[in-house]
């Protein structure tokens, strides 16, 4: 990873005006991503992960900061230049049916992506490439004649992937691509995405609310809470030594199949819900839900800081939290007032 990163975000912020107030959807997020790597974004609904994914592709304009893709500041591109650039940056959505034109056959939808980008050669060559893409993503060639609604959810997602691939992207943002799928199909899609990355060297930004899925696929993970990065680490580092109490709570929330029925432990819930981003709490945004919260957390916002080699967390007590670990008191319910309110 000594190479120049393919993608760089520098203190990117995105605000929305809602009912005359400012909603800080993404605030000062920075990261670098090497070619062929996967960056995972994880957090609850409202954490800003999808907004960040769209800002990175300039599907939304950043209000502050900049996004540099292959050495080029995306904000400086004209509409025409940006359109050309889009062939290098694609996105796959959670609901593939909503992103496919219901009146276009699958084949036409995939060819259309190439037509828009003016690539793929003649019509016959594009049709040939479409057939190859369909086969590559595990669909029968006959699927080209089908309409999206005639396919299952997993097949629709494969079409979404084929269409994104048709223009030969370097970067693909995968926004909850498996959340709506059946479990057995989820694994099929994950395997497909991994194979494609290996074969084509694609860089992924993988967005999910499920920490297990994100860790499985990512090299680096950003944990987002109310639009801000609260922890950044390698997938392995995050799993072995989560340093932010929120990350630990997220980990515990992915229910594991117990090793044996006797080893079942009572479920303990993280109390409260993510606050409205229109009125974020003072101090640390996580303090109202955090069992480690002290007076300092209510007034002083923790900066993202290095807690161990390459591992950053925005928590005044990251060292203590890391010692407690996922199963420690730090993760849940140590404070009686919180336990009572859960």
């Amino acid at each position: 990873m000594s190479d120049e990163p393919i993608l760089k975000a520098e203190a990117v912020s995105k605000y929305f005006k809602v009912q005359g107030r400012t909603l800080r959807a993404v605030e000062r997020v920075s990261f670098e991503l090497g070619a062929g790597q996967t960056l995972g974004l994880v957090g609850e609904s409202g954490s800003g992960k999808s907004t960040l994914g769209r800002v990175v592709l300039r599907l939304l304009e950043a209000d502050e900061g900049k996004v540099v893709f292959q050495g080029q500041d995306l904000a400086k591109l004209s509409g025409r230049e940006l359109r050309l650039r889009r062939r290098d940056m694609q996105i796959i959505f959670q609901d593939p049916l909503a992103s496919l034109n219901p009146r276009m056959t699958v084949g036409a939808a995939i060819e259309d992506a190439m037509v828009v980008q003016k690539i793929g050669g003649s019509a016959a060559e594009r049709r040939q490439r479409t057939r190859e893409l369909l086969e590559r993503v595990g669909l029968p060639v006959s699927a080209a004649e089908a309409y999206p609604f005639e396919l299952s959810g997993g097949q629709q997602q494969r079409v979404g992937i084929a269409r994104a691939l048709s223009v030969g992207p370097k970067l693909v943002v995968c926004d909850e691509p498996i959340s709506a799928l059946d479990v057995s199909v989820q694994v099929q899609i994950i395997e497909l995405l991994r194979e494609l990355q290996k074969e084509l060297g694609i860089t992924y930004i993988f967005i999910s609310h499920n920490l297990g899925v994100v860790q499985l696929l990512s090299d680096t993970v950003l944990v987002l809470y109310l639009g801000e990065v609260v922890e950044r680490a390698s997938a392995e580092g995050l799993f072995q030594r989560p340093a932010h109490p929120y990350t630990q709570a997220l980990m515990r929330s992915v229910l594991k199949v117990p090793e044996a029925a006797e080893k079942r432990v009572p479920l303990v819930a993280l109390p409260g819900e993510i606050p409205s981003p229109l009125s974020p709490p003072a101090g640390c945004p996580y303090h109202p839900r955090c069992p480690l919260a002290a007076d300092r957390c209510r007034v002083e916002k923790p900066e993202l800081r290095m807690v161990s080699d390459g591992h950053m967390a925005a928590c005044h007590f990251a060292e203590e939290a890391a010692i407690g670990g996922v199963n420690g008191a730090a993760a849940f319910g140590a404070s009686p007032e919180l336990a009572a309110s859960s």
């Binding site: 609850e44 609904s45 299952s152 959810g153 997993g154 097949q155 059946d182 479990v183 057995s184 199909v185 989820q186 694994v187 099929q188 994950i190 395997e191 991994r194 609310h209 499920n210 920490l211 297990g212 899925v213 860790q215 499985l216 696929l217 799993f239 709570a249 997220l250 980990m251 515990r252 929330s253 992915v254 229910l255 594991k256 199949v257 117990p258 090793e259 044996a260 029925a261 006797e262 079942r264 479920l267 303990v268 819930a269 993280l270 109390p271 819900e273 993510i274 996922v326 309110s341 859960s342």
Partner: protein
Amino acid sequence: MADELLCVEDLHTEFWRGDGTVYAVNGASFSVAPGETLGIVGESGSGKSVSVLSIVGLVRGNGQVTGGTAKFMGKDLLKLRRRQLEDIRGRDIGMIFQDPMSSLNPTMRIGDQIMEGMLSHQYTNRKGAFNRTLQLLDEVGIPEGRARFRSYPHEFSGGMRQRAMIAMAVACEPQLLIADEPTTALDVTVQTQILVLLQELQQKQRMSIVLITHDFGVATNVCDRIIVMYAGKVMESASVAEFIARPAHPYTIGLKRSVIEVGTQAHQLKAVPGVATTLMAPPHNCPFADRCQFVTDRCRAEVPELRPLSEGHYVACHRAEEVLAEAGATAVEGATADVR
């Protein structure tokens, strides 16, 4: 099985579509004991929701229950008149669904909606219903009950709506709560909150729960017994202990290997090939045969019936013994590999 609260036998449900008949439930049998949590696990189209909707008379329009019995507190629900069933639904059997917004009336205040069920079932009078609503709001974790009583559903978050729906479902102290994917649309942190809430209410009211879910993690953590459905049939039924230790149906094993947990490594995952199909004819073979690595000619010719494998463990697979033996061998292999 006289002491079961609910006993469903050989249930069949069909739907008519433009292109033919869909055989959604094909002879499903299961039972629920008092105070027990039964998990029904399966993928979309497995018939897990339809089975339960059939029992409570909510399959209508182009669908029809075509056979079977569903004994609940001594009565066959499938033989009751509509009015009799309406009496039971909402009073003795409460229900919650994945999308609370689709079951809440958007134009009615939350408190009035919770009261409505108690009043229409003559559970208590107006005053009693009002007081019980305040108590329920507190029990389900909606703070400031008096103020929230007057809120509309759109003013609630997804988690809060699900709590309100739970309050409605348990208001008349049902014997049985049917929870159809109650946490699927929620954030993982809120999911745990809702599951904990259901467990608390179950303890307090001593009700049975049928939890329909596609999530193995959820099922194995909260259920006493689990059945796995595929193509409208029960493929396996076992206590949660048996289920974790000795899953014997190839489909169950495949689903288990598809579970992604924190710390799952890519090489541990193994996809079940293919997708579940919709049955357009009654099954004449094992519906899982096309996706099964253990398939033999017999599986393609003969429907495997649900049969006992050991005490309380039932499986619908011709080769369950061999599957179990092989799964055991792989587990040992895996363990030694880990040691190395």
